[in-house]
């Protein structure tokens, strides 16, 4: 009979469909795993509601649980329980190493444009904080575009959610 720990280990092998350097567990989108009588219930929290990777994530979770010989029940939880603060320290380092600046911590209030424009976001390539906001939006809803004035490299910055 499969255990919750075995399920978590298996889920940690599933890459994010859009940024495969990080696993779904690193990304913090697995809210819970419940095992009982060969049934595994997994709660999945979307990053952004319009994220097109959500269906692929759900399918990968179902296939992984099935491969463990258990019956999957994957539920998508559409509330505010996921935050970029749930990305694990290992996940943040994997993002940075792949050229994605990890998100600043969530604050009590809503993010402000002035914070995004401030020179506090570090370039994932050279570490300089001499970077400027190019676009609040980027190639996916979860990312902004910045430019590093030090190494002249554009890069993607995870938005704080």
């Amino acid at each position: 009979m499969v255990t919750a720990a075995q399920v978590w280990d298996a889920l940690d092998e599933i890459p994010d469909p859009e940024i495969p350097v990080i696993s779904l567990v690193d990304l913090g989108v697995i809210r819970s795993v419940d095992v009982s009588d060969g049934h595994v219930r997994v709660e999945l929290t979307p990053t952004f509601l319009g994220c097109p990777a959500l269906e692929a994530m759900k399918r990968a979770l179902e296939e992984t649980v099935t491969a463990l010989g258990a019956e999957p029940d994957v539920r998508v939880i559409q509330d505010d329980s996921w935050s970029t603060d749930k990305i694990t320290p290992a996940g943040r380092e994997k993002l940075r190493a792949a050229g994605f600046a990890p998100p600043p911590p969530r604050e009590a209030g809503a993010p402000q444009l002035l914070q995004l424009q401030a020179n506090v976001h570090r370039c994932p390539y050279c570490g300089s904080s001499d970077t400027t906001l190019e676009n609040i939006f980027g190639p996916t809803p979860c990312r902004s575009l910045r430019h590093c004035s030090s190494c002249k490299q554009p890069f993607e910055q995870f938005k704080t959610i």
């Binding site: 509601l49 319009g50 559409q78 676009n135 609040i136 939006f137 809803p141």
Partner: protein
């Protein structure tokens, strides 16, 4: 069917469609990216809201007759100049913030939780809209566009939320162009957005 949630979902679906029309033709490449991303978020919000109301979000989004849509006239308009597009985005986001804040206090935890999630994402839309409002606020074309769209914006919200909208926008409340009748532009959009599903027999697999 919860009228309030359906209205909000239809607004988000239709403004998402309208925002997506700027993909590839915005005045700046960065705005192609921004409007595309905003559109994707808005349609994602519509889907999540439809899922609170039904098991088949696609059917609710695309299989209804035109008259069954509950969206407000503001989101239906096909706005082909930048001043109008920005004026609508700004007015829409100010109004949306007010109604989302009210939904975050909803008795149903599923509604309140989803509203809180939507609010996190909308913070970035509000930043974008406010940035453009600051940039264009002295341009006569922008001021004229806000004048023209203001009665439509009032019609987005229920009566009890209109004072707050007028205060935030810094305008007097005017007679609203109310939700309930549709513009001719929606008929054109409905035809386009339901075309693929209408072209295939029921039960088609995609």
């Amino acid at each position: 069917m919860n009228e309030l949630l359906l209205s909000l979902a239809d607004d988000e679906l239709v403004i998402g469609w309208r925002d997506s029309e700027w993909t590839g033709i915005a005045p700046l490449l960065e705005e192609d990216v921004a409007f595309s991303s905003i559109a994707q978020n808005e349609i994602g919000h519509a889907r999540a809201l439809y899922e609170l109301l039904t098991d088949d979000a696609d059917a609710l989004a695309f299989d209804r007759p035109l008259d069954a849509y509950r969206c407000a006239p503001l989101v239906e308009l096909r706005l082909l100049d930048w001043a109008h597009a920005i004026a609508r985005r700004w007015l829409y986001e100010v109004a949306d913030e007010i109604r989302i804040a009210a939904l975050m206090e909803h008795d149903d935890a599923a509604v309140a939780g989803l509203a809180a999630k939507i609010n996190r994402e909308e913070a970035y839309h509000r930043m974008h809209a406010e940035m453009w409002r600051e940039r264009l606020q002295d341009a006569p074309q922008f001021r004229a566009a806000v004048d023209e769209l203001w009665p439509y914006a009032v019609g987005l919200l229920p009566e009890e939320q209109r004072d707050a909208l007028a205060a935030r926008v810094g305008r007097d409340e005017v007679e609203a162009i109310e939700r309930g009748t549709h513009t001719d532009e929606l008929a054109e959009l409905w035809n386009e957005m339901t075309m693929v599903r209408r072209s295939a027999p029921a039960g088609a697999q995609w």
